[in-house]
Amino acid sequence: MNKTKSIVLLSISVVLIIFLAVFCFMPAKLAIGNYDYYSPVNQLVHSLDLANGNYITFDIENADTDKLDETISVLQNRMKLIEERLGVQGISQAILSTTNNTLSVQIPDDEEIDIGSMFNILGSQGDLVISLKEDGSEPFIPYDDEGNKLSWADCIEKCIAIYDNTASKNPYGISLTVNEYGLNALKEGTAGVKEDSTLYFIMDGEVIGKPSLKSQITNKTNQITGYNTVAMAQTLAIKFISGMYPLDITNTMDYQTVNPTLGENSLLALGIALLAVVVVSVVVFIVKYGLMGVAYALSLGLFLILLVLSYAYLPLNQYFSLSAAVGVLFGICVFIAYNLLFTKLLKRQYNSSDKKTFSTAFAEAYSYLLKIVLDSGVCLLLAAILFWIISTGIVSTFAMAIVFSTILSIVCVLLFTRGYIKSLRKITQDDKKFKLTAEVK
């Protein structure tokens, strides 16, 4: 690669970095056709500590602590299911607070789900009745081996949303799998069915499904179809599986918004602090290592762009909180440490007593760096992935941020920093510009 080619490649790369940086970090929202375009930084989902949330209140009957705890447990189960099934991020971090007769939930504001659906899922009693009568009389009641009455939530093993590709309209539905006790109740209830009948699924007094029946039910898995959106089917599946509130709960439809728990300008302050770290590191690198510092700055630009893109587009149910920002900061610091190591190794090899050429010193420094990066990278990733898998909530997002940023640190230092130093060296052979003459023994 000659000098001209290096200059051209480097110029293209700089323009590309600037373009991608603007594309990623400008908080732009443009109306294009039927869809709005959001820049990647606008697509980051923030948790309650950094973004506005919804403050929803339900009325509950006065009750003892045990029943209140059970009610909160069902509510948390529903929120977890909303997070998993409907892709609403950070909802398990909701702040729950109670008085004797109210239950308030502070949850993140998410475009994936409207507030009406949130009320529908969280505020419904979840009282499921299965019967051959439309009014719910003569319900099927499951019992355990000792003859104790069970609720249907105790008998439902699995409930997922499905798509029926044979249906001409309303193709969405749910697939419901019950356990032995549930199956016994269904068998007993439908024992007399010999001709076309209808089985009614009634939740909180409302018929939510009425599949036709031609004979006795003998399978553990059954389907109810006839819903026109997947969200509708998912909502229903969540209600089926999460069970019934032990306390009477009333949907007040009272919701308000609250600003972030860390304060109104927390996101701005966080951005400024991260920017300060980045700017200080770039200035120090350029002052101390000259063109090698420039290579670091370009590589850091790509690192940050890739990090934002991975947060915006990877479908890993990630959301951005202050903890995640600390994880990202840790990744940035790992990246800085690797780059510092690279430049120091290069300087050391180049200035060693046996008069090496730049390319020999570069190859040796890179070889040392590769060993160190692989050794430390494996340990860091092993630990971070385990933390990500085992832990939950904000701790999990913190670990995930470390995984993303460590992988990108390794990729960027091994590919981009290396590439940029090589390109810059092709452009100028002046050791002073690389600050290579300053001795490090």
């Binding site: 202050l322 600390v326 840790f330 440490a337 630990a383």
Partner: protein, 299 residues
């Protein structure tokens, strides 16, 4: 650079003392948890919407009242109605004794709700389990990775340093609890951060020592101090940047950030101190006890 034995003795003694004080404080005063982790409360102070959104007098009145009730850290949020008009201020806090469901501040009657901490406790428990699992896995990994090259110095050295770091960082927070500091479930992020920073610094130090040992043809024991010198400035800068980030945010934004970032800052200081003043001595001491066959292999 410095006398390894002397600084080890001083730093290790300080860290062990910190841990002991932390244990004593935990038993005597209990865990100084914030409202979201320790079943705290939320005070709802209704306000009329103001165009300039300046509620400083209401905020100071409520904070004064809560401080009189021995509340520790207090965070404030604005609550908006459907027309985006502020209709209440939410104060999250924890006091020694729960307030009644209705309190009067000046002439204003405010509702007090009780925060349910079950989700936060679950996060802490799962993260504690994860920390144990990760420490065990890293111990085994380092033992296998360096099985031919004195695994004891590598794996035991790392494990002891990591445990000292975790407990010393926690102890600092327990001591700060006497000055009003309270932590929430994000403390576990700082614990994880401490483990990650320890393993990173430890591997970097070992690699640097091995590099020096190979290039200068000296034993690994002899390479420990020059290797430390090589990475000291570099890692001071890196840890300094993390410190800068934490101090900047805590100074500018206050309470909410202090809850999350003080544990990170504490872990940063402890990890740096132990990474340079404790781990190298431990590593060297454990190396000295290695079998002669392995010593020869290293050389």
């Amino acid at each position: 650079m410095y006398n390894l034995t002397k600084v080890f003795k001083i730093t290790f003694t300080v860290l062990i003392c910190l841990i002991l004080i932390g244990v004593v404080f935990t038993f005597v005063f209990g865990a100084n948890t914030f409202a979201t982790l320790g079943n705290g409360q939320q005070l709802i102070y209704s306000v009329e919407h103001k165009e300039n959104e300046d509620y400083s007098s209401e905020i100071s009145a409520a904070k004064k009242f809560l401080k009189e009730q021995n509340a520790g850290i207090i965070t404030v949020q604005k609550r908006f109605d459907a027309n985006d008009k502020v209709n209440a201020l939410l104060f999250t806090f924890k006091t020694d004794k729960d307030l009644e469901q209705s309190v009067t501040i000046g002439e204003k009657v405010c509702i007090v709700t009780k925060i349910n901490s079950t989700p936060a406790v679950r996060v802490v428990v799962r993260a504690a389990i994860a920390s144990g699992a990760v420490l065990a896995v890293l111990f085994v990994y380092l033992a296998i990775r360096f099985s031919k090259n004195n695994w004891v110095a590598h794996s035991v050295g790392f494990l002891v340093t990591a445990l000292v770091n975790i407990f010393a960082s926690y102890s600092i927070l327990q001591i700060l609890g006497q000055f009003g500091y309270q932590y929430d479930s994000t403390i576990m992020s700082a614990c994880i951060y401490s483990i990650m920073a320890t393993v990173f610094l430890f591997i970097l130090f070992i690699s640097s020592a091995k590099n020096y040992s190979a290039s200068k043809n000296v034993s690994l024991e002899q390479a420990v101090e020059p290797a430390l010198k090589r990475i000291f400035c570099m890692m001071s800068f890196v840890f300094g940047l993390i410190g800068l980030f934490c101090i900047l945010l805590m100074a500018i934004c206050g309470n909410g950030f202090v809850i999350v970032l003080l544990p990170v800052l504490s872990a940063t200081v402890v990890t740096f101190a132990s990474g340079f003043f404790v781990a190298p001595y431990l590593f060297k001491a454990l190396l000295k006890n290695q079998p002669i066959r392995q010593k020869t292999e290293n050389q």
